[in-house]
């Protein structure tokens, strides 16, 4: 932990000289890559150790080969990139990584100084700030979707202009119907033409089908993993749960992601039965929050059962027409469209994981999630599942109130213990 802190300090000191800061970032990532293969985190099972390596390597690859990378948001259809051998840099995760080395404060200040609203979600502000301070390597292109979260388009447009990189925006309509599937499919085709032109290579449909086949297999494994969560206890932390977003989103369809899911399923099947209480998280768990770390990371008393974002689309994608399949996947995402879809997803997850309590961390600036808080409260009241909402910020630590969180969290855990 201290090594990470001093690493962050070195970078903070060099923020005014972006070349140096970038060199340190790259060096740190390369070292981390080697370090993880030599000294994996023994607290977690093999699958999660492997996952951590995938994540660090993906950011490392971006630093080493920016001209074969693309900035993407979490919902981007990266299947196409994998089929073309392009490395996606998943910007929300990159922000999380920068917060992990504790330099988010300066980056947020830089974004706000440029005129970006202070009430924007910090996942975006940190990325924008790293752009302002030139802590990004210029990519060849970037893609984003309009769905679910408003901050994406603005963030991507702003940085693409600053770095003069081509951007493709996928406009995803609100409803699922035939016309909208066509609309998205046409855009996917246009996007592919742009990528082919910019990267000078062709998309091979057969390779795309292979990627999708692996994606489908991965989903099958994920569903089986889900079946085990109610009874088994996998030693994990919030950080690893967030690492899983790489597997469930931007890296889905890759060979190593499929291996990861195979390992994950084996690990949970082998895991001991759960003795303590199970806590399910909605929206993003605050991985840097001290009280949460204390009560949930590797805890036998309160196990982390997971969080909903890793399960936003579990259906199979048809191989017959992969682009239509991807269009369907985007439109049918549980967070696209009406909030009822999200509630239906959560209802399914509650049934599978049978938690003793559910915590919704209300991440500052995330209106798509916060706006539905009342509907969730109503749902959990009806289901008689203890439900706690806490306000704060997943990555901007100065927006958190440790004392207040502590009181409320402890009171809630008290209730769960006694149930």
């Amino acid at each position: 932990m201290n090594a990470i802190k001093s690493y962050g300090n070195i970078i903070t000191k060099n923020l005014s000289d972006s070349k140096k800061a970038l060199a340190y970032l790259k060096l740190g990532l390369n070292i981390a890559g080697v370090y993880l293969s030599l000294f994996p985190d023994r607290k977690v099972p093999a699958s999660l150790q492997f996952l951590q390596k995938i994540c660090v390597n993906s950011i490392k690859d971006y630093f080493n080969h920016p001209d074969n990378s693309m900035w993407v948001n979490i919902f981007s259809p990266t299947e196409i990139l994998h089929a073309m051998g392009v490395n996606p840099l998943f910007i929300e995760a990159y922000s999380g990584f920068l917060a992990g080395i504790s330099i988010e404060g300066q980056l947020i200040d830089a974004a706000e100084a440029a005129g970006i609203s202070n009430s924007l979600c910090s996942f975006h502000k940190v990325f924008l700030g790293s752009g302002e301070l030139n802590l990004l390597k210029k990519c060849k292109m970037s893609i984003t979707t309009s769905m679910i979260c408003d901050g994406n388009i603005g963030t991507f447009r702003y940085l693409s202009e600053k770095y003069q990189t081509p951007l493709y925006i996928l406009d995803i309509p609100y409803e699922y119907n035939k016309e909208n599937v066509n609309y998205v499919k046409n855009q996917l085709q246009e996007m592919i033409r742009n990528i082919e032109e910019i990267f000078g290579r062709k998309l091979d449909m057969d390779r795309l089908k292979e990627v999708i086949a692996r994606e489908n297999q991965s989903k099958e494994l994920l569903k089986k993993y889900l079946e085990n969560l109610a009874l088994k206890n996998l030693s994990t932390s919030m950080t690893y749960e967030l690492y899983m977003l790489f597997a469930s989103h931007v890296f889905l369809g890759r060979e190593e992601t499929l291996s990861f899911y195979r390992m994950l399923l084996e690990d949970i099947q082998r895991a001991p039965d759960r003795r303590g209480k199970g806590i399910f998280f909605i929206h993003v768990p605050p991985l840097f929050e001290k009280n949460f770390i204390k009560y949930f990371n590797f805890s036998p008393e309160f196990s982390i059962l997971g969080f909903d974002l890793n399960y936003d689309f579990l259906d199979e994608i048809e191989l017959r027409d992969p682009l239509e399949g991807i269009a369907r996947k985007l439109l049918l995402n549980s967070y696209n469209g009406s909030f009822d879809r999200k509630i239906a997803l959560i209802d399914m997850l509650m049934e599978k994981t049978r938690p003793d309590g559910v915590i919704h961390f209300c991440h500052f600036g995330c209106k798509q999630a916060l706006g539905g808080i009342y509907l969730l409260q109503r749902y959990f009241r009806e289901k008689n599942i203890p439900f706690l909402t806490l306000d704060g910020d997943v990555i901007d630590k100065k927006n958190n109130q440790e004392g207040q969180t502590k009181t409320r969290l402890e009171a809630f855990l008290e209730i769960i213990r006694n149930r």
Partner: protein
């Protein structure tokens, strides 16, 4: 009557149904019932709209899939109104989206027709559209309003006060029909015209080229907290467009406050007197530095009294270092160097130790000067800073007539409130709420920070509601300020400055006690430094 929120709503179509339409423009008030149904950190328009719909019992609502906030508004309103429909608005404009949007309009017409038990009469729709004239873009230089929705009455007032035309590109604008109907399919061409009307900030498009086609004198860029769309465009415009641009924040709770009008006034003054380029060679600039006990502020102005840049840094152990820091930062924000500064005036506690100041003036005079400069109608100033508070009375020329200051103790100041917030483990933001629906009227009797703290702790221990305690604390600070006020003869208009002026709760309680409104400058902490800078300008004449 059907309520709507967005300018892309097919209002003419609703009129063709013979229905009265009302654009939801929430009125000034706290969003009490809205907070029962959604999170406080939603954009204030959404909360205001929700509040209004519930309170006025609007039964028919049509929304547009504009943003995360409106989507959630749609989810929350389910089963709360009789008719609810959300129209999906594409973000791209091309032939395909023309058709998609047309489908959306058609679906809406069908749904509404079914609800009403009638059908849309396209003939009637055609008549209505034809009776509308496409709004003309003014030829003379106009004020362009951009960003998030801007209240119509403020725009009207702007036009009247300054005799200037405005072009409203926000959600509240009605520049809607970009083309007259030519096609046979009325509904289709109507949908296309709607989709292709003046783009708002949410549509995916770069509006800079579009702006160039307009006669722009200046831009007022309105922002709403927790709205994600505006700030990117604003940041870009600021960097790349050479037109004067003023950013304001309105929040549907106190948008008519003097603060907003003051800023617009200053901006309008600037538009009259200033050329487009900010920096002209050989121009003279002046600096004012206010070295206070808790924060140090610096302001740089030009010869016309326009603020070029300012800063606000916490006062460290050495007043001199903090002053130097504040000064450098203000210079940086103004894009100037210290060679550009003709004259510097220092004020505040640490003023004696500032070697780079040409002249020293008391903080009383500087506050008076600064406040009077911001609004010539000010006669009484209430300044509550981190560690001290004072009240000042001015004559109609802005000269100081009388003043009073508190004793050397932090009672009733910013530090007092900081302490209490810490003791209660709440943020300063929570501390600064206006609380109307309190349960118990708590009176904090001790004024001394230490005793007050133990009083608060025992209230918490007795399960007193946090809200009630906050109100009690804010009232106690207000009481203190008013008793200070009563030591001088005070009259309207009142201005409040200093850091505590940002605490809405305290402001509200003082207003209640004196029965008058307080003007609050946009950055209340820099008033003293501003006054010092004006002294610097006058001294060098």
């Amino acid at each position: 009557m059907i309520g709507y929120v967005c300018k892309y709503t097919p209002v003419e179509l609703l009129e063709a149904f013979g229905e009265e339409t009302v654009k939801i423009e929430p009125q000034v008030k706290p969003h009490e019932s809205a907070h029962d149904f959604t999170h406080v950190n939603m954009c204030s328009y959404m909360k205001g709209a929700l509040e209004q719909i519930l309170e006025q019992n609007l039964k028919e609502i049509v929304l547009v899939n504009c943003c995360d906030s409106i989507r959630r508004l749609n989810d929350i309103l389910k089963n709360k109104v009789d008719f609810l429909h959300i129209i999906d608005l594409p973000r791209k404009i091309n032939n395909e989206t023309d058709r998609l949007f047309y489908r959306q309009i058609e679906l809406f017409a069908k749904a509404y027709g079914e609800y009403k038990g009638t059908r849309l009469k396209t003939g009637r729709l055609k008549e209505i559209i034809q009776s509308r004239r496409k709004e003309q873009i003014p030829v003379e230089k106009s004020l362009v309003i951009m960003g998030a929705r801007f209240e119509k009455n403020i725009i009207k007032r702007l036009e009247e006060t300054y005799g200037i035309k405005t072009i409203n590109l926000t959600c509240s604008g009605n520049n809607r029909l970009s083309d007259t109907i030519t096609e046979n399919n009325v509904l289709f061409s109507y949908a296309v015209a709607l989709l292709r009307s003046f783009p708002c900030m949410r549509m995916v498009s770069d509006r800079r080229a579009f702006l160039q086609s307009l006669p722009v004198k200046g831009i007022i860029y309105n922002t709403i907290k927790f709205c994600d769309f505006y700030s990117f465009e604003y940041a870009n415009l600021k960097k790349t467009v050479n037109t004067p641009i003023l950013k304001v924040e309105t929040d549907y709770t106190d948008s008519e406050s003097g603060q907003l009008m003051n800023r617009i006034d200053a901006f309008m003054e600037m538009l009259e007197t200033k050329s487009v380029s900010r920096k002209t060679r050989g121009k003279r600039f002046f600096a004012g530095i206010d070295s206070g006990s808790t924060s140090t502020n610096a302001v740089i102005i030009d010869a016309e009294g326009q603020i070029m840049g300012y800063s606000n840094v916490p006062t460290g152990a050495k007043a001199h270092d903090s002053a130097q820091k504040a000064y450098n930062l203000a210079l940086k924000n103004a894009g100037l160097t210290k060679e550009d500064i003709s004259f510097t005036v220092a004020t505040g506690y640490g003023r004696i130790s500032l070697p780079f100041a040409n002249k020293i003036t008391t903080e009383i005079s500087c506050h008076g000067k600064g406040a009077y400069f911001l609004d010539r109608k000010v006669r009484t100033i209430i300044d509550i800073g981190g560690q001290d508070s004072k009240v000042i009375r001015l004559d109609e020329k802005g000269n100081v007539l009388d003043f009073a200051m508190n004793d050397k103790c932090s009672a009733g100041t910013g530090r007092f409130l900081d302490f209490m917030a810490k003791a209660m483990e709440i943020s300063l933001e929570e501390m600064s709420q206006v609380i109307l629906n309190y349960h118990k009227d708590i009176v904090i009797t001790s004024m001394c920070t230490v005793f007050a703290e133990s009083e608060v702790i025992s209230l918490i221990a007795h399960n007193t509601e946090v809200k009630d305690i906050i109100r009690g604390l804010n009232r106690s600070v207000a009481t203190r300020a008013v008793s200070l006020l009563n030591r001088i003869k005070h009259t309207e208009k009142y201005m409040m400055t200093g850091g505590v002026a940002k605490n809405k709760g305290v402001v509200y309680e003082i207003e209640q006690k004196i029965g008058a409104k307080l003007l609050i400058p946009s950055d209340p902490q820099i008033t003293g430094a501003l006054g010092a800078a004006i002294f610097a300008m006058e001294s060098s004449d």
